[in-house]
Symmetry: C2
DNA sequence: CTAGGTTTCCTACAACTGTTAGGCAATTCG
DNA sequence: CGAATTGCCTAACAGTTGTAGGAAACCTAG
């Protein structure tokens, strides 16, 4: 049925690779088309526009991230699980900065249209986002943290991990000693202690 | 000397306001020109291009942020200073999401040109960035943290505050209980404890 | 008050990106 | 082999960035 060629998945995967090469912002329809050796209008057979492309890349990449994290979390609990989880995210972000960028650029503009259309790509991004949220929950639960404190613990952990990685990639830590490589395990140590205290109710 | 009209500062300030209204990405030369009631080419008399504009906005906004933080930090030390500092940043980010966005979008693309030109705007952004870094250092030092652990403490604090605010603005916390308003003070409490432990050398 | 110089702003234009419309050609299945 | 299907193309338009050169408004000096 018809001639073979590009398909939606191939286009999105190529876009993700391009994001790592040139930065997420540089992934435009025309650049992507040139990279794939076709003309811009051709891509409209596979994606419905620039925003659809970006959203689809976000969803695709969020799934990759969840896969990577989930593999790394195969065994262990408590501190070991935390380190495996956090290291997996950080490795992903350092190896694929454009992809990581895509995961955090899913931002709602200041005056976001509340009735924004829920396209397939948006739905996929939401689902993939929840996958990642569930993995964070798994880490927190392995500490034995009560349901009451679960949400708080996830926020604390996510904020710290995400914040550190973002600043690290932005180069904020590059011009002072000690190297970022050294302080990262210390951050995880402090985070482990905090989660432990939450679990045993020794806070407040 | 010459007729009065726009000047560089006015253009940049208008751009910052526009960022809060429409989002940082939406601040383009043409949109800004329309907003100011002039034609696009006119703006090239005041700024040297789109990237110069964005960089200049970043520098301008980083200075505003340092002003706001520094005012809030007038008195207090230790925990009080931490809360004043963190609340000032969070208030700034919530009141001016477009401006806050500008402060964290100063990102180096994956394959950044190492010999990238240091324009006046870039230099201003670097200076303003250092101002903010010094304020963070002030907070940490008020805990009596030794010089050895200073950098680590700043990274821990900055990562957590920045990460929490980013995720909060992105809407990550909007769909679970308790409200973000409730968990924010708890985050600062845990951060205060961690900084206290670093100060008294009770870590490791 | 007038003449110069300075600065602002404009029109015109070129190049590129996003997007739509419609058509040719290659492939696969009956 | 024929025909439906599909992929890709050219043509064209709107919007954006950026350049070039010119006209008008303003301030100051004589």
């Amino acid at each position: 049925m018809g001639r073979p060629g590009l398909n939606r998945s191939a286009v999105i995967a190529a876009a993700a690779d391009l994001a790592d090469e040139l930065g997420f912002d540089a992934v435009t329809i025309s650049v992507l088309a040139r990279h794939l050796g076709v003309r811009s209008p051709t891509l409209y057979s596979h994606i419905s526009g620039a925003t659809d492309l970006r959203t689809a890349v976000t969803a695709y990449v969020l799934d990759e991230l969840a896969d990577a994290t989930s593999t790394a979390m195969a065994a262990g609990e408590g501190r070991d699980l935390l380190v495996a989880y956090a290291d997996a995210i950080r490795d992903f972000a350092r190896r694929s900065p454009g992809r990581y960028d895509a995961t955090i650029r899913q931002r709602v503009p200041p005056n976001a249209d509340p009735a924004a259309e829920i396209t397939d790509a948006v739905a996929a991004a939401i689902t993939a986002g929840r996958r990642n949220a569930d993995l964070a929950l798994t880490v927190v639960r392995s500490y034995g943290i009560s349901e009451t404190n679960e949400t708080y613990a996830v926020r604390l952990m996510s904020s710290l991990i995400h914040g550190y990685i973002t600043l690290e990639i932005a180069g904020t830590f590059a011009h002072s000693e000690p190297p970022s490589e050294t302080t990262w395990p210390e951050v995880l140590e402090d985070l482990d202690r905090a989660l432990g205290l939450i679990a045993t109710g020794q806070r407040h």
